[in-house]
């Protein structure tokens, strides 16, 4: 009885819901879709047709070729890939190891160190670059790929947070029983706890990975030589010579989006899970 009463209302609600969701999806996708249309247009087509018109052919990869070569994107991808692999690996280990020590051992200064990291998280990254630049300069780390990687690891506080939180939920009895069995502290960490950290590692990889792939400011500041461009700085090159040639620019934009889109489609579940887990740090 009550069911039949509710029905008309819930139909209205359903219609409203799907209209809203479709609208939101449309707004989220239109700017990118228009880029796709434009990226396949020849310069002549681009100059004569409206941006909303379909290109003559979706097989015209000329713009992609030009963009790829002009911005030296191959080099950019290569550099970004190296940076990603090294920074993510090191960050995971550093974060996990530090969190292990801070969570499991009581020693003088433990609380102080935790607070130091906490406060560091408040300092906005771009703000300190004025003086970080000087330090990088005096250490001879400017225009060195490893210099850039070191800065990225050094400003990494998110993953430490994530690991700290995760350790809270791993029972100490695990460590204790392993130690009773004659395991060393190193063994406890590498053999027993580290494998259990998998969910935290995924979270940290997702958050950090997106951050590093999209990082622009420091890459621009510390990697000035054209051989060392990462993918985001390579893309920025389009501001100059191509000014208003958006068919090339859109092709360049899409080239940078495609790899991360593919990864996202494969790892969707992990990405959402990682996002949600990273948010609880408050």
């Amino acid at each position: 009885m009550t069911n039949s009463k509710i029905k008309p209302l819930s139909v209205v609600f359903l219609v409203f819901k799907y209209v809203m969701l479709a609208g939101a999806a449309l707004i989220a996708l239109i700017p990118v879709c228009v880029c796709v249309l434009t990226a396949f247009k020849t310069t002549e087509e681009y100059n004569t047709t409206s941006v909303l018109e379909l290109p003559k052919s979706f097989l015209n990869f000329e713009n992609f070729k030009v963009a790829f070569q002009q911005a030296n994107m191959l080099k950019g991808f290569l550099n970004t890939a190296i940076v990603l692999v090294v920074v993510l690996t090191v960050s995971v280990f550093i974060g996990a190891m530090l969190a292990y020590v801070l969570n499991r051992f009581k020693f003088k200064g433990n609380a102080v160190i935790q607070n130091l990291f906490m406060f560091a998280a408040l300092i906005p990254g771009i703000a300190t670059q004025v003086t970080v630049y000087q330090i990088m300069f005096s250490l001879g780390l400017i225009n060195r790929l490893y210099g850039y990687m070191i800065v990225l690891m050094g400003t990494d506080i998110i993953s430490i947070y994530i690991f700290l939180q995760f350790f809270e939920n791993l029972p100490v009895s695990l460590d204790e029983s392993a130690i009773v069995d004659g395991c060393t502290y190193f063994g406890v960490f590498f053999k027993i706890l580290f494998p259990l950290l998998k969910p935290a590692i995924v979270t940290s990889l997702v958050l950090k990975g997106v951050g590093v792939y999209n990082e622009y400011y420091m890459s621009n500041l510390y990697l000035q030589s054209s051989e060392l461009k990462t993918i985001s700085t390579a893309l920025y090159k389009f501001t100059g010579p191509y000014g208003n040639q958006y068919n090339y620019i859109c092709a360049g934009v899409l080239i940078t989006i495609i790899p991360i889109l593919i990864l996202f489609l494969i790892f969707q579940k992990q990405v959402y899970g990682g996002m949600a887990a990273g948010a609880v740090k408050g």
């Binding site: 004025v130 070191i150 502290y185 920025y236 959402y272």
Partner: protein, 331 residues
């Protein structure tokens, strides 16, 4: 380090020795990095903010002049006002994210597609987002064409990026576009952590969708919403990429960071830039303290059901009652 006469190797093998080595080796690298790339620059920044200096060359001590300049120079102060647009954007973004997360928490067909489509902008790098929207807003291009297709007169369409009354809104909208989906995923994650049986029980009891939202969903995500609201304040103050790529900070769109970046790396007013950074940090610390206090006051750290405000009210009432009693007995 070690006071006993025990041979060093033996100490090394003992539990205690192992522990010390482990603590040292595991913490050495992260602490070194933290010191070199966060605290050293931070203290240097404080030092530099009292000098008039360039990257290379002599520096002269000027006291608080740089700090006074931050508030006096029209470009710096105006850039703080520009942040208000981004804060407005952040509020809109949180509201939208909350709205869509609420819609999606109930069973939805095609949820994966909607989630993916809305989340996707977050994955695009800031520079690419900049280009996409430069193209989107350019005169006669995407947005104009869409509006015309809906029958809007081209003469009535404003210049999205040049018109000073509207360009900051256009730019803040790109941030909303980029982050709404991500916020939605966060909220959705928190909402999903609520036991689904609760919803069923509620709807059996005849609770409508609004009641479910008000009494089940909202309490479960209260803290994450407040947290994001406060994070978005520091986020709005540090907005950088949209104006940097799309307008290069011209036409009154320079945010605090864009201006700071320009002062530091183009005109090399390092001292002034450092003072700006310190002022920003001060604002962020204030916001964070306010957040902590607010959490303590409103939720009592989440440890008890009774909020601090409620506790205070009750105690006040008790005190008044006691006073009245004592007063009564004395007279």
């Amino acid at each position: 380090m070690q006071k006993t006469r025990k041979p060093f190797m033996q100490w090394l093998k003992s539990r205690k020795g192992q522990k010390c080595i482990l603590i040292f080796t595991f913490m050495f690298v992260p602490l070194l990095l933290l010191f070199v790339f966060t605290y050293l620059p931070f203290f240097k920044m404080i030092e530099f903010s009292f000098y008039k200096m360039k990257y290379i060359g002599p520096k002269t001590f000027v006291g608080l002049d740089n700090y006074i300049d931050v508030f006096r120079r029209s470009e710096c102060f105006k850039s703080l006002q520009v942040s208000i647009y981004y804060m407005g954007g952040a509020v809109v973004q949180l509201a939208l994210a909350l709205f869509f997360a609420t819609l999606m928490v109930f069973k939805t067909k095609g949820a994966a597609f909607f989630k993916g489509a809305m989340f996707f902008p977050y994955l695009i790098c800031g520079i690419a987002v900049g280009f996409i929207f430069k193209f989107f807003y350019a005169r006669g291009f995407v947005l104009d064409s869409i509006l015309q297709a809906f029958g809007m007169n081209p003469e009535n369409i404003p210049m999205w990026l040049q018109d000073r009354s509207i360009n900051n809104i256009s730019l803040a909208a790109t941030s909303v576009w980029r982050y709404t989906g991500q916020n939605m995923i966060l909220f959705l994650g928190a909402m999903m952590s609520v036991d689904s049986e609760l919803y069923e029980a509620a709807s059996l009891d005849g609770a409508n969708k609004w009641h479910q939202f008000r009494y089940i969903i909202l309490p479960s995500i209260k803290s994450i919403v407040v947290l994001n609201l406060i994070l978005s304040i520091s986020g709005s103050l540090s907005a950088f990429e949209p104006p940097y790529v799309i307008t290069n900070g011209t036409m009154g769109t320079g945010t605090y960071f864009v201006i700071m970046n320009r002062l530091a790396h183009e005109s090399q007013k390092v001292g002034l830039a450092c003072a700006m950074a310190i002022v920003l940090l001060g604002i962020i610390v204030l916001c964070t303290v306010a957040q902590k206090l607010f959490f303590k006051y409103a939720f009592d750290d989440g440890t008890s059901d009774e909020s601090r405000a409620a506790v205070r009210k009750r105690k006040k009432a008790e005190k008044a009652a006691r006073k009245a009693m004592r007063g009564g007995s004395a007279s």
